[in-house]
Each structure stands twice: as structure tokens, then as C-alpha cells.
Symmetry: none
Subunit: 405 residues, 2 copies
């Protein structure tokens, strides 16, 4: 029996409030002083909480497997990440506010500068402004409403990026990128990667030609590329699965996107100068409206990817200093973890399991003196599959009935 079906069968509704803090890329590796970013960070609040919590390590996918942000988050939301797979295109589409239904295919677009002979001179069109992008998308939307009966919807992104959603029968994501990959090469048109992708490839190429015609007089953005053709996966919604009313508090499009994919409401948050204060303010302001709160803290991952050990450590310290604001709300269950590790030493996501802390009135505290990778390795939760966490949060919220008599 699948865990998700089991939880659905047992789930109860009540008034408990569950909070899931995801510090993106939280896990790390020892730096020069032998401590990870998290271990080196001065985190008095997390340490105090950890001593009263169950702690452990989350195996995001399986031993040795490095998760992308998509699978990492799906696992945290209770979806077996090896069963549910989503393309990056879908995530970005959702992130800019597009809705992608089962019959639809989306792709990531780049405005680009085309030269004679369909040579792509600049795959990013000189990084036009987001304002200019919005103007162009508005103009194109008026002039390309459908192609051969397939409806076209366009969404502006940041700078040169946009998203296009194609809606019609017999479309498939099995199409290779329409992108020469390097500046100065002739356009590489969309090709189907299987016969199922024939129609989508044809439509995509006609779309690109129309954009080229309509924008011929533009100085920079006189053409486009399309990448990452993707269909929406069939995801059961969190609210139906677990009788919760979930909300996402996040700043970056991708994380809002994945939250929408699993049926969360999304709150727009302005986070001035990486202060993280906007996240905690949103948590307070939404407190009465929801019962499951996913709060996403981006910059630990960004600095990890930059290889900036100290900046990653400081983001963790900033989070720690704000944590009391969340505790004041008296959540019934509070979890602090990450969606994957991003050791600044590796400058990338990594396969290392991720520290987790779960606080509720019904814990067997690990009693460790601090919140860190090594203390968590001997915590009372042990090393557990990340996609088991959601059920554990429901259990601690007394939201699961007994299995069997």
C-alpha cells in the first residue's frame, strides 16, 4: 500500500497549526574549522528548540542521490519523489503565475537577437529589461491567440525570460529544445523526440516564426527560443490528501510554482535586502487563514552555490534571530529543515541528507546541545526518508487515526 493512500485513509481534520520552514540548501560540509555552515552558525534559538525537539536527518531521495529543488520540495510535501516527477519548465511556468492543465504543454521562452540567415546572435537579447519584456509579451498576446486551433498563452518573466503555454488536443512534451545552445550558431528548430511530439514541434516552430515576423523591427528582442517543453504531472492536491488548508510563503517564482502545483495558496512576499523579515511578517498575517504553512528561505542555497561559506552561515544566523517570531504564534507542530544540502565547498546541491528538527508537545527530545548535521545524525528521528515527514507532522498534529484494530 502506498504511504500517500494510507495517510489519506487515516487523516482527520482538526484545528492544529503546522509550520514547515525550508531553509533552501541547509545541509553543508565541514569548512576550514571542521564545522559545517550550520554547525558554525551562532543559533541560540535553534539550539534551544532542538534540545526540546526530535531531530534527525532527511534522506531526500535515496542515499547518494542529489535532489533538484523540485524533487526536494515534493518529498517534503509528502510525495515520493521517485514516483512524482516534474519538469523545470512546469515549475517556472507556475512560478510566473501560469496554470498548466493536463491537456497543455508549456515551455520556457527566451527573447533573443537574430541576425541574417537565422543565426542567433544573442540568446538573451542583451538581457532586455523586465519592463520591455512585459510590453513585448502584451503585444504578442494580442497577435498570437492560436496556431492551427491550438491556443497560446504568454507570461512575462524576468529580463529576457517568458513562459508560453500551448493548449489543445494531441500535444506532447516530447520535443527537443528549439535553441542553438550557443551564440553565433544558426537557429536550431524544434524537433520531436518521439512521434508523439510531432504536432507540438510543428506548432512550436510556427510560433517562433510568428514571433520573428511580429518583432522583426526590434533592435535586440527580434526573435525567441523555446526550451524545456513540459506537461503538468497529475498531482493529487494536499488539501484533498490531508484535509489541510496550506499556504506558501516564498519569494522566488520556482517555490511558489511548486506550491501551486500541490494546491497551496501562495502569498506574495517582499523580502527587502534578504532580511527574511517579510517571511515572518507574512506568517503572522496569514496565521488565522490557514493551518499548514510552508515558509521558504532562499538565500542559504544561493550563497552555498556561490561558494560563500560565511554568507550562508549568516543567513542561517539571521533565520535564527527571527525564529522567536514564529514561536510566539505557538504552532502545534514546527519543523525546520531544508530541501537538499548545498555545501559551499561543492558550490552546488549535494546528496548529503538534511538536518531536521520537529517540535511538538508529543516529542521524545533528542536532547542534543545544538542543531547541526552531526548532532542530528544521532537524533531520535534517525535518518528517515524525506517524504515520510509530512505524515509525521500530521501525526504530531494529532491528525491521523490508528491503523487497524
Amino acid at each position: 500500500m502506498k504511504r500517500m493512500d494510507l495517510l489519506s485513509e487515516l487523516v482527520l481534520e482538526n484545528q492544529t497549526k503546522l509550520v514547515l520552514f525550508v531553509i533552501d540548501g541547509l545541509g553543508g560540509l565541514p569548512g576550514k574549522d571542521g564545522k559545517t555552515e550550520l554547525e558554525a552558525a551562532a543559533t541560540p534559538n535553534l539550539d534551544k528548540l532542538a534540545a526540546k525537539s526530535e531531530t534527525g536527518l532527511l534522506q531526500m531521495i535515496e542515499a547518494g542521490i542529489t535532489p533538484g529543488s523540485g524533487p526536494g520540495h515534493l518529498a517534503l510535501f509528502g510525495y515520493d519523489p521517485l514516483e512524482f516527477r516534474i519538469g523545470r519548465g512546469i515549475l517556472e511556468a507556475l512560478g510566473v503565475g501560469a496554470h498548466v492543465a493536463p491537456q497543455e504543454v508549456c515551455a520556457r521562452g527566451n527573447f533573443a537577437t537574430w541576425g541574417p540567415g537565422d543565426v542567433v546572435l544573442d540568446r538573451r537579447a542583451g538581457r532586455i529589461s523586465t519592463e520591455k519584456n512585459k510590453e513585448l509579451i502584451s503585444f504578442l498576446s494580442e497577435n498570437i491567440k492560436e496556431i492551427r486551433g491550438v491556443k497560446v498563452r504568454l507570461y512575462p518573466g524576468e529580463e529576457h525570460r517568458f513562459v508560453v503555454v500551448f493548449s489543445g488536443d494531441n500535444l506532447s512534451e516530447e520535443v527537443e529544445d528549439a535553441d542553438p545552445q550557443k551564440n553565433g550558431l544558426p537557429m536550431r528548430w524544434a524537433n520531436p523526440s518521439s512521434a508523439r511530439g510531432n504536432l507540438m514541434a510543428t506548432i512550436a516552430n510556427e510560433f517562433i516564426k510568428k514571433v520573428r515576423e511580429l518583432l522583426a523591427k526590434e533592435e535586440h528582442a527580434n526573435g525567441c527560443l523555446l526550451r524545456g517543453f513540459s506537461q503538468a504531472p497529475h498531482m493529487p492536491m494536499l488539501s484533498q490528501l490531508y484535509k489541510i488548508k496550506p499556504v506558501a510563503i516564498a519569494t522566488y517564482p520556482m517555490y511558489k510554482g511548486i506550491a501551486r502545483l500541490v494546491g497551496m495558496d501562495v502569498v506574495d512576499v517582499v523580502d527587502r535586502e534578504h532580511s527574511l523579515e517579510g517571511l515572518f511578517e507574512a506568517l503572522s498575517s496569514q496565521w488565522d487563514k490557514y493551518d499548514f504553512f510552508y515558509v521558504h528561505v532562499k538565500y542559504a542555497d544561493s550563497y552555498g552555490e556561490d561558494g560563500n561559506y560565511d554568507a550562508k552561515r549568516e543567513i542561517i544566523e539571521r533565520f535564527d534571530s527571527l525564529l522567536p517570531k514564529a514561536l510566539e504564534l505557538k504552532p502545534d507542530v514546527l519543523v525546520v529543515t531544508g530541501d537538499h544540502s548545498t555545501p559551499s565547498r561543492l558550490k552546488s546541491h549535494s546528496w548529503h541528507p538534511v538536518p531536521v528538527l520537529l517540535s511538538s508537545p508529543f516529542v521524545r527530545p533528542s536532547g542534543g546541545a545544538a542543531f547541526g548535521e552531526r548532532t542530528c545524525a544521532s537524533g531520535t528521528l534517525g535518518i528517515m526518508p524525506a517524504y515520510h515527514l509530512m505524515g509525521l507532522m500530521l501525526a504530531h498534529g494529532l491528525r491521523l487515526a490508528k491503523y487497524g484494530a
Copy 2:
């Protein structure tokens, strides 16, 4: 490959003696002094044994899932509790000594007081005495041997409760309860929950009418209800799976029932005043006849459900004081664990994993100073699925051949 099939393929027969002590509801949560019932209990014998044993935590079902007694025990006996599911009706039937074969359907019966217009006045017939119950069942058994070719067997239970087993072709458990659920309402007759249940529902209603006719002159028990129609699951027997000769030493019907279901012999034990001495006496007296001994200690769970922290602690202490009697028998493998947690703080079963101790000549001792939830969390067994325990016991009994060349 399923674990059960793997074990069956590798299993060897020898003379080793394996003992599984199940302290019902053993796991707990910290009380006022920050210690669980088990951690607070003075258990010199368990502590001494734990230091020489492998210890760990058993995940009975999966993280966050609270097991009923049935699934908890099935897991301890090596059955994946998500694959093998048994209804409460079956457990209770087995508990009163009924045997339910694959072609049969059992139901829990209540003697009830019926009034005019088939209104059920008292769903428990004034809780008639168990003696009276036995008289009525004896009378009914003589007068209802079969209905439309379906054989009927009756078993008295405690007070107003009995069990009926129907034996014939085309019977199905897919029948809703024949029970108005509340006193003062008209009888609610059995209805099939699917077409497969048609025959069983008809037979059940005829049975209820016959009981009503036969007992019409009774003051209290002048009718009955039937609930929890259940068929026996198809369970492979322990003796066939693992070449062991198992016996159950238990006092409560449900635990005897589940032991019968997996093919154990059952010893009747009288446990005067919760002394637990009867259990240890039975273990001694049966020692030469069997090689696998399941010993069930009920009251830790009962007191946990009462919210009685101290009484639960005392039962554990009493068990500890008797443990040397088991050690004197020199079992080759001895396990002490529980079928689930019952923290007195929650007054119910809970999802928390259960401490386990495994003693044999071939252990890597954890070396912990005491037997408790937190020491077990860092024991050499780690946190393991409960249904893996049986194979581990067989291994320590040197009863499993090597896998592969």
C-alpha cells in the same frame, strides 16, 4: 523479492529456542520529570541485559502511523502489516476460540433487548452475565445449526457478547452492520455493501429473526445484533514459513486470537492480580515442547490508556523483577519489545517507535547504561521496520542460510 519469501527460502531447522516478550504499549513519552515510563522504571535486570544486547527502535508500520494491536503484532511476527490486514471481527472471533477458515464469515454478536415494532431498547441486553450468555448460546446452538445450507457456529464471549461463524459457499464479508447504533431506534437490518454480500446479508437477517423467535420470552436478551462481518485473511503459517514450532503465552482473547491466526498453539494462562507470574510459569512449563515463545504482557498498555504513568511504570518494573526466570531457561535468542507505544500522556496508542532489545551470543552490544527510548534511539540496531525483527531473531538463532554463493 518479498522479505517473507526470502526468509522462507533461507530458513534452516535447528534446536535453538527463541523468546519474544511483547510488553503491550511499551513505548512512552517523557512525563513530568522528563523521563518516559520505561526510562523512569527501576529495571536493573533489563538494564543489565540491554548493556549486553543489541538495542534499537522498531518502526511498527511507518513514521507517523499509529498501529492497532493487530498490525503491531503481525509486524512482530514478520508479516508486512501494510500487506496483511485483518479486521477486528476476525481478531475477536479467534480470541473466543473460534476458528475461521477461508470459506467462512464471522461477525461479532451482541445480545440485545428488543421492544415492540422491532425497536432496539438496549443494545447490550442490560449486560447480562457471562454465565447467562453461555446458557443462551448453548440453547441457540442446538436450535440453529444451519440456515439455507449455510452452517452456523456460535461462541459465547463476555457479558452480552458472542461470535457467530457462518460456513458455506458464496459468503462475503461485504455486509454492513445489522445494528441501529443507538438505543431506542428501530432495528437496522443487514444490508450488503456490494452485490457480493447479498447472500450473507440474507442469511444474517434470517439468523437474527430466528434468534428473536427462539428467545422471545427472555426478559433482557430477547434478540441480537450482528456487527463487523469479516473473512479470515489468507495468512501463511509461521511453522511453514520459518520451520519453527511456535506457542503463544497470553491472557487476553485478542492476542490469543492473532497468535492462532498465524498458526501458533495457544496456552491458557491464569494471571492472578496482574502478577505476571502465570506468564513466566507457562514459559517454563512449555519450554521443552516448543522452540518459539511469544509472551504477551498486557497491562502496560491498559495503564497507558488510563493515563496512569505510575501504574504503567510499575508493570514494567514487575516484568523486570521476573525476567531472571526467563533467563534461567537460557534461551538462545531473547527479545523484549512492544507492539506499539501507549504513552500515558496521550492515553492512547501512538505512532512513536518502540524500544527493542535483542540478546543472543552473537550480538554487537550497544553498551548503553539502561533500556529506554532514548538509549535505544542510538543503539546498534538503529530504527528498523518491525516486520524485519522475526528474520533477525532467526538469524541470531543461526536458522538462516547464506543468501547467494
